[in-house]
Amino acid sequence: MDIKEIYNILKLAFEEGIGEPVTDKPVDPYMIIDAKNINAVCLFLRDEERLQFDYLNCLSGVDYDKDNLAVVYHLSSFALNHKLVLKTVVPKTDPNVPTVSDVWAAADWHEREAYDLIGVIFENHPDLRRILCPEDWEGHSLRKDYKVPEFYNGMKVPY
């Protein structure tokens, strides 16, 4: 099933918050979903008979542009052998996205990584701690405007 058909099914099921498919970019076609809808949309994609997205390939945090962060969801279906990319874009001032770790358990650690390195805050996540950096690390290190600290716990960081 291609992204247009999936879009039509979603459009019928959800009144708003489903963006038009973007197909003219040199990347996998994607849809932008409103952050407040993302959990419900993902649950629908997983459980709907015609879609059966039973597998979350990857969940990535992105420093999207000057004012926004994004979360990118790569989904696929083993049952029906089709795939889909979703994005959700949130402002840096309020980077809250509902978790999908209750839909696909694989999202748990992916969301912790996106939180650790980019600073997206996943609402209702069961255990939103840093996963790579030390617990007392300051800032989110893959943000474009991240500045390397001069010292960490008394250890000089720059060369």
Binding site: C133, P134, S141, Y146, P149, M155, K156, V157, P158, Y159
Partner: protein, 169 residues
């Protein structure tokens, strides 16, 4: 006799063959350099070379270098790879738990100076000598087992020349 060959200088043997006289320094150093027990501990790709060095082909055992699981048993710590800032805190603690006399061998570019992470590695300590004293540096990325062996032999030389009055010279 193996022990006599190792102690070589400053040694006297009586005719009966049962008594030898040597200096305390020589005897202690011989004991220390012949049983440098190593921390059971690896960090990155250098650890793979370290394991290869321990395995049968290069056989670290023949120098008396045996990996041990507790810092309380340890004479030498091989820093075999990238020291992240998160790990650096743990390495410092392990070092402080090791009993004297203790030695440190820094293996590979990352542990020596940060290696490929020297500029953009916000999470990497640029050289393990910023937190603990290093006795021998082995360059390479990663060093081959022969290079690691050479480093360990250099450390043996260092131990052979130390005296009770001072740790190293």
């Amino acid at each position: 006799m193996g022990i006599l060959n190792k102690l070589d200088t400053h040694i006297e043997q009586f005719e009966s063959g049962n008594i030898i006289i040597t200096s305390a320094d020589k005897l202690l150093n011989w004991g220390r350099l012949s049983s440098m027990w190593q921390m059971f501990f690896g960090l990155a790709c250098c650890a793979i070379e370290m394991m290869a060095t321990s395995a049968s082909h290069y056989d670290l055992d023949r120098f008396g270098i045996i990996p041990r699981p507790s810092p309380r048993h340890i004479d030498i710590i091989l820093i075999s790879g990238t020291v992240t800032l998160k790990m650096a805190t743990r390495i410092k603690r392990l070092w402080e738990q090791m009993p004297e006399p203790k030695y440190c061998l820094s293996m590979g570019s990352c542990a020596n100076c940060g290696g490929p992470y020297w500029e953009h590695g916000y999470h990497v300590l640029k050289g393990v000598d910023r937190i603990i004293p290093v006795d021998v540096y082995v360059p390479g990325c990663p060093p081959r087992p022969e290079a690691l062996l050479e480093g360990l032999l250099k450390l043996q030389e260092k131990i052979r020349n130390q005296s009770l009055a001072r740790k190293t010279n």
